[in-house]
């Protein structure tokens, strides 16, 4: 099922009489989600991603704009008529019902000709349970399950009615680190197998990047960028997206373009073409540094952290916007930790330029 969002806007009335200004949670969101894709809605808390999910699910109604599932306009349709499956952050499993009863719950709601026989319901519940591999837990109560198992039950309950769209709200945030890794692969697998268009919300960029076909980065209700994870990472639309994606985060510097040259502080880093002289912000991905005896960027060396495969070099430069510069270099390169200075050359493909004022990214070509 293809999902189309057209100029979606959601405004909430002010909290009370003292704060009469409306709060715009989502602003003018347009997006066409291709059939069968896995989309991650990504942003810091309060950016409107959960509201967007609620608008798609029908739990909240948009102030303006339309939502289409395929050809059908579902904007005014209540949640239960949209045929969606929703998995909650805290799973919202009914604690007094067994796993089986929880999974069958949506099926038992059907009335009239849509109602299945008891045996069919059992069969469907078993299929959904098999899909998430919890068949042997069917007679337990949610309280007896681990967080990861509860998560699977919640997904099974959402899948059992064969939804047109599956929505997941922060599906991994209640799991510990090890389970998180495992579960996100699991979500990817289930989504591939069922082919259901799936949208999930997360504040964890790694999570979104690792399994999504497309990611949507939001900030304060406004969509910043939509694209494939790698594309968004490589060419972020603006400084916010660049800062938000990537671990360790991008290193930022004050920079200048003077006579076709990019300066970081007083160090001329490389020559580029076609950009008028101006003040810029320079972003350098940690992997964009190379230790080089005669490299142009000269930093104070603050320390070296050896992490097995990679080495991260910590430095300081007076034009740096962060207190510490973190460069990731492969283990092959040697760094002498006792030196006071370290020189880097930069890989232009990992360097991003932004307008100082608008924070939009500037395309450039290296000579």
């Amino acid at each position: 099922m293809k999902i189309i969002l057209e100029n979606l806007t959601k405004r909430f009335p002010g909290r009370d009489r003292k704060h009469q200004g409306e709060v715009t949670a989502v602003k003018d969101f347009s997006f066409e989600i291709p059939d069968g894709s896995l989309v991650g809605l990504l942003g810091p808390s309060g950016c409107g991603k959960s509201t967007t999910l609620n608008l798609i699910s029908g739990l909240e109604m948009p102030t303006e704009g339309r939502i289409l599932f395929g050809e059908d306009d579902v904007t005014g349709l209540p949640a239960e008529k949209r045929g969606i499956g929703l998995v909650f952050q805290n799973y919202a499993l009914y604690p007094h019902l067994t796993v089986r009863q929880n999974i069958m719950f949506p099926l038992e709601n059907r009335r009239g000709k849509d109602r299945l026989s008891k045996a069919d319901m059992q069969k469907k519940a078993r299929e959904a349970a098999r899909m998430v591999q919890i068949e042997d837990l069917m007679d337990r109560k949610p309280g007896q399950l681990s967080g990861g198992q509860q998560q699977r039950v919640a997904i099974a309950r959402a899948l059992v009615k064969m939804p047109k769209v599956l929505l997941l709200d922060e599906p991994l945030s209640n799991l510990d680190a090890r389970l998180r890794l495992q579960t996100r692969e699991e979500i990817r697998r289930i989504q591939r197998e069922t082919g259901i268009t799936t949208i999930f919300v997360t504040h964890d960029q790694e999570e979104a990047m690792s399994i999504s076909d497309l990611i949507v980065v939001m900030k304060e209700g406004v969509v910043q960028q939509i694209g494939k994870p790698q594309d968004v990472y490589d060419s972020p639309a603006n400084l916010f997206v660049a800062k938000f994606l990537g671990t360790p985060p991008i290193n930022l510097f004050y920079g200048q373009i003077r006579g076709q040259k990019l300066f970081i502080g007083e160090d001329a880093v490389f020559t580029l073409r076609g950009i008028p002289d101006q003040e810029v912000s320079v972003g350098v991905r940690p992997e964009g540094f190379q230790v080089c005896e005669d490299g142009p960027l000269c930093c104070d060396l603050k320390g070296v952290e050896v992490m097995g495969r990679d080495i991260s070099v910590l430095g300081w430069h007076k034009a740096s916007l962060n207190p510490t510069i973190r460069a990731m270099i492969s283990g092959g390169q040697a760094v002498q930790a006792d030196r006071a200075l370290v020189r880097f050359s930069l890989n232009p493909a990992k360097v991003l330029l932004f307008h100082r004022d608008t924070e939009e990214r500037i395309d450039f070509e290296v000579v």
Binding site: D72, D73, V74, T75, G76, L77, P78, K81
Partner: protein, 291 residues
């Protein structure tokens, strides 16, 4: 079949149903609110109708065009309503004060002092919570009578003081104050009593206020014990006073004056409630059964 559904129409129908449901909900809630408020309206209305007007209405009128305060004058002049109010105030204040002192000391002992037998005694306390008042009131009546304390404030107050539940509530509250504060105070050489007054009581103020208000409400409304122990009007509390008024005061026919007395008795608690609404409701919902 799915495809032929008109999504817009379904949406509209749903919103209409939702509106009907909402109107129905508000209607019901409003009806109950009316049921709750109507007796209050009726008592105020009747209390401002003149004696002659009231008695000429065979079919009662729902309003009055000539309100009068004469009934309030009568209520204070013809029966000792002021006396009742004063008595009840004395009773409520004394009982609450003694209860607070006793309860704070006991709760402090349970929460902070360590001595052998503490837990056993506490379990004993808790089991006393289940004893119904009706069972012990008979002997208390005999005890107080034998002590010659009928028709006295001591006789009214002493058996009304204890509320095991409040000790329990306070103890829970005291225990939430971190141990480290107590230890720090000990290191500084603070005495237990000083610690209790300078640290624990200020920090537990919300609970203490809640307990105080609940106990005052309880005292203001208490009827059974005062009725048993007093038969002189000079010691009547409002509940007994109102019963006395009903049976012997004014003559049965002066209903407006009776209602004026009812209003006077009800107003203090309602004012208290409106001021401390959140505290009272929180306190009651924390398990405060009546009594």
């Amino acid at each position: 079949m799915e495809k032929e559904m008109n999504y817009e129409q379904i949406g509209k129908k749903d919103r209409k149903l939702e509106r009907i449901r909402r109107a129905f909900t508000y209607g019901l809630l409003g009806f109950w609110a009316l049921l709750v408020l109507f007796p209050f309206y009726w008592m105020i209305l009747t209390s401002v109708k003149s004696y002659s007007a009231y008695n000429s209405e065979y079919i009662p009128k729902l309003y009055t065009l000539s309100p009068t305060l004469q009934n309030y004058r009568d209520a204070f002049m013809e029966v000792p309503l002021g006396r009742y109010l004063l008595n009840t105030t004395i009773f409520a204040v004394c009982t609450t004060a003694v209860m607070l002192t006793v309860a704070v000391l006991a709760a402090f002992a349970f929460a902070r002092l360590d001595f052998p037998g503490r837990n056993t005694v506490f379990v004993g306390f808790l089991s006393l919570m289940m004893i119904p008042n009706e069972l012990v009131i008979i002997t208390n009546f005999v005890t107080i009578s034998n002590l010659g304390m009928r028709n006295s404030f001591q006789g009214l107050i002493l058996p009304s003081v204890m509320s095991v539940f409040y000790i329990y509530l306070l103890k829970e509250n005291f225990e939430q104050i971190p141990d480290s504060l107590y230890q720090a105070a000990k290191v500084d050489g603070t005495s237990d009593l000083k610690y209790l007054f300078k640290v624990m009581i200020p920090m537990s103020r919300p609970t203490l206020i809640t307990i105080t208000i609940l106990k005052i409400i309880e005292c203001w409304n208490s009827y059974v014990w005062p009725r048993l122990i007093t038969d002189e009007q000079a010691y009547f509390l409002v509940s007994n006073g109102i019963q006395e008024i009903r049976e012997n005061g004014f003559g049965r026919e002066n209903i407006p004056a009776m209602m004026a007395a009812v209003v006077v008795i009800s107003v203090p608690l309602i004012m208290l409630f409106l001021v401390f609404r959140q505290k009272i409701m929180d306190g009651v919902s924390r398990g405060g059964l009546k009594g």
